[in-house]
């Protein structure tokens, strides 16, 4: 059964790395629902978050293929319950539509949205939340005349406590352990 997974991965910031990763997905006909790239907490290390829909068996294989890419440091796959995630959306709405009735108050109070810009023609509303919350607000604004709507890809943090630095340290240590093990068995 297909379900939603969030792939978060850390990589070196090299040209072409994004192509190498998306190739692994497109080759298997897995569509990327959303994608976000940014610098991680560790300088020089890039973080990529992708949302895909596929089967648990396939996501396991795909994650290993991604981790195999030389410049990829670490890959995590999470189901929706294992992460805290948000998306951000901007809505450009006609001022006339928005000013009629008590819409503005509702938006700011009930939906925790902010108003970024006001002109005589349009207003820009910003909202962070889950995909569902963002869609809900969009439906609400629709009658007021939405001129433009854009939403970001998912950004996510895991519920686990271990940080990237710990993994980097472990990878360094594994090299040492390997040498010791070799000596032991020979």
């Amino acid at each position: 059964m297909k379900q939603e997974f969030t792939i978060s991965l850390f990589s070196e910031n090299h040209i072409g790395i994004l192509s190498r990763i998306t190739l692994i997905l497109t080759r298997r006909q897995i569509n990327i629902e959303s994608i976000t790239a940014s610098e991680s907490a560790v300088p020089g290390v890039q973080m990529l978050t992708m949302v895909v829909r596929t089967t648990p068996e396939m996501i396991e294989k795909v994650a290993r293929q991604i981790e195999k890419v030389v410049d990829v440091l670490k890959v995590f796959v999470h189901t929706s319950s294992e992460i805290i995630c948000q998306e951000m959306a901007l809505y450009k709405v006609t001022t006339r539509g928005l000013m009629s009735g008590s819409m503005i108050g509702d938006i700011v109070r009930k939906h925790h949205a902010t108003i970024l810009e006001v002109t005589p023609e349009y207003m820009v509303v910003e909202k962070s939340g889950t995909r569902a919350e963002i869609k809900e607000l969009l439906a609400l604004l629709e009658p007021c005349g939405v001129l433009q709507f854009v939403s970001s890809g998912r950004v996510a943090v895991t519920r686990q406590v271990k940080e990237l630095n710990a993994y980097l340290r472990e990878m360094d240590e594994a090299r040492g352990t390997h040498q010791e093990a070799l000596e032991f068995y020979n």
Binding site: R20, L73, M171, A174, R175, T177, H178, A181, L182, N186
Partner: protein, 588 residues
């Protein structure tokens, strides 16, 4: 990978030839110096506009770097791969930008699927022109991405040594594979101060994982308790140099060893525990008994679909131990009860002391019974028919008996390849160079010259079909120019035999575009000044084979074989390995 002495470059010593190191060198020279630092002595390639600064500098390095000019970049790529497989060192291949680079792609993909380390160096147009659709510009980085282990573009001379060091480190470590470095023309002429340090560590890249003692112990327990264990040995056994350890494990535990196509020389075919080749055209016993085994020990192999047949009906009684250096291969096609992510030799060495000595005579007898059936129904009629047309199998068998134990055997792709895999009697001192994963027709001829360039002391015998031969036939020019002493056995059935076989078996004998009208191959050989002989009769076979093997330089033996013979046994597409067909009644 087999270690072998490569012939030294004739003539001068390095110090006589290398220009005294000036502080400043061009990027082109930095590239060549870097290759020398990595122990490279042979390069296969083809020049062109963008790579001219490198070729110009190459003239100053003829004492330490031998360049083999092939007749097509694809040939250079296959040659470099074969060179790597014979020497155990990464192969090196040069090509220019644009068409030079794209012509490499088949060769790169071939090396990728068969895990062979080759460092491809392509030239790129001047960096200011990149992205403008300049003359002979192509995005080789993008094109080669899905078929390289790693690739990179260099636009500054100063980055060349580190990038080359990284390329070699990545190509030869972990699961080996091809890498590509694309160097812009201006980086080749820019000057820099040359300093070289080998790459030994990349933070994001863990080529070998530590052994986990719990896994080693579990593996030994599983092996000791199994009644019907079967070892499946793949290319990884040869790459990790674990041939000796494999033999020790098999002998100590009394465990039969089956091999994949690329794992063929991992275990001597003369050994009493040799079970045969697996898969579609493999031997009868290992295919049938895969589904009887209670334990599969897969070492350095990846359960390719040609090996497993129908996965749903594969090895239903067996637990699976999968020893594999590439983590992504474990659980990819066959679920492992115990996956050991590590180097085959290290893992086998660790397991060995915990293995109980056992004979398992009953189990081994099951193989011998099935072997007899296969011998009567398939092997004897193929290798010793006595009368009728000449068979591929008997040609292969005769040459195998005359060639000696350490020959390097090269094949192309198709029926003749399976005939070699089945009927050549390999020992673990042989090397087999064949295109496995990709099944690249046209691989054989350039691979044979690459292999022969990598070894002076061993005979190189290439079996090639008439179809594949003509895909890269221009490499006869390379063989002529460098007097490369390859022995080429051209098994000519005037058909694309394997496709013809499928048409007969699965497409109602509708022979669409598989019959070939061929040239006079001996006349073609003579145009290249290569001695050749054609045989049609069984009576001539032994004597002609001896003449070929005894000849000094290159030789082409054209054997006119049965036009319509089929390769059997066969695990038909969609069938389980235990449903292997031994006989097939040819339709007229």
């Amino acid at each position: 990978m087999k270690k072998n002495n490569t012939p030294g470059v004739p003539g001068k010593t390095e110090s006589e030839v290398l220009p005294s190191s000036p502080a400043e060198v061009t990027g082109a020279e930095a590239l060549l110096k870097s290759l020398v630092e990595e122990g490279v002595d042979t390069i296969f390639g083809y020049p062109g506009g963008a790579i001219m600064p490198v070729y110009d500098k190459l003239l100053d390095y003829t004492g330490s770097l031998r360049h083999i000019l092939t007749r097509h970049e694809q040939g250079a790529a296959h040659s470099a791969q074969a060179y790597a497989m014979v020497t155990g060192k990464p192969g090196v291949c040069f090509a220019t930008s644009g068409p030079g680079a794209t012509n490499l792609v088949t060769g790169i993909a071939n090396a990728y699927l068969d895990s062979v380390p080759v460092v491809f160096i392509t030239a790129q147009v001047t960096s200011a022109l990149i992205g403008t659709d300049a003359f002979q510009e192509t995005d080789i980085l993008g094109i080669s991405m899905p078929v390289t282990k790693w690739n990179a573009q260099v636009k500054r001379a100063a980055e060349i040594p580190d990038t080359i060091a990284r390329a070699f480190y990545i190509a030869r470590t972990g699961r080996p594979g091809p890498v590509l470095v694309d160097i812009s023309k201006d980086a080749q002429v820019e000057t820099m101060t040359f300093r070289y340090s080998k790459c030994t560590y990349i933070r994001s890249y863990n080529p070998v994982n530590p052994l986990i003692s719990r896994d080693i112990e579990s593996a030994a327990v599983m092996i000791n308790h199994a009644e019907r264990p079967l070892i499946l040995a793949g290319h990884g056994v040869i790459i990790s140099d674990a041939v000796k350890e494999l033999k020790m494990l098999a002998e100590k535990g009394g465990i039969p060893v089956a091999v994949t196509l690329l794992g063929i020389p991992a275990f001597s075919h003369e050994h009493r525990l040799f079970a045969g080749m697996l898969g579609m055209h493999g031997n009868y016993a290992p295919n049938v008994l895969t589904n009887r085994a209670d334990l599969i020990i897969a070492a350095g192999m990846r359960f390719d679909d040609r090996v497993t047949g129908n996965l749903k009906k594969y090895a239903p009684q067996a637990r699976v131990i999968h020893i594999e250096i590439d983590r992504a291969e474990i659980d990819k096609n066959v679920r492992a009860d115990l996956g050991i992510n590590g180097d085959v030799r290290e893992v086998l060495t660790a397991i060995l002391p915990n293995i109980r000595e056992r004979k398992r005579e009953e189990w081994i007898r099951e193989f011998r019974i099935l072997d007899r059936t296969e011998h009567e129904k398939v092997i004897k009629p193929e290798t010793d028919p006595g009368r009728g047309e000449l068979n591929m199998g008997e040609v292969v068998r005769v040459i195998s008996e005359l060639a000696g134990n350490d020959a390097v055997v090269v094949t192309d792709v198709g029926q003749h390849q399976m005939a070699v895999a089945r009927y050549y009697r390999f020992t673990d001192s042989n090397t087999l160079i064949t295109s496995g994963g990709m099944g690249t027709m046209g691989f054989g001829l350039p691979a044979s010259l690459g292999a022969a360039t990598g070894t002076a002391s061993r005979k190189v015998i290439a079996f090639i079909g008439d179809g594949g031969f003509q895909m890269t036939v221009q490499e006869l020019g390379t063989i002529m120019q460098y007097r490369i002493p390859v022995k080429i056995v051209l098994l000519n059935n005037s058909f694309l035999g394997m496709v013809r076989q499928w048409q007969e078996m699965f497409f109602n004998s509708r022979y669409a575009s598989t019959e070939m009208v061929n040239p006079d191959f001996t006349a073609l050989a003579s145009a290249y000044g290569i001695p050749a002989r054609k045989i049609c009769e069984r009576a001539e076979l032994k004597e002609a084979a001896a003449e070929m093997l005894g000849s000094e330089g290159p030789f082409i033996l054209v054997a006119e074989v049965s036009r319509t013979a089929n390769i059997l046994p066969m695990v038909e597409p969609g069938a389980s390995v235990s449903e292997v067909t031994l006989t097939y009644n040819s339709k007229p």
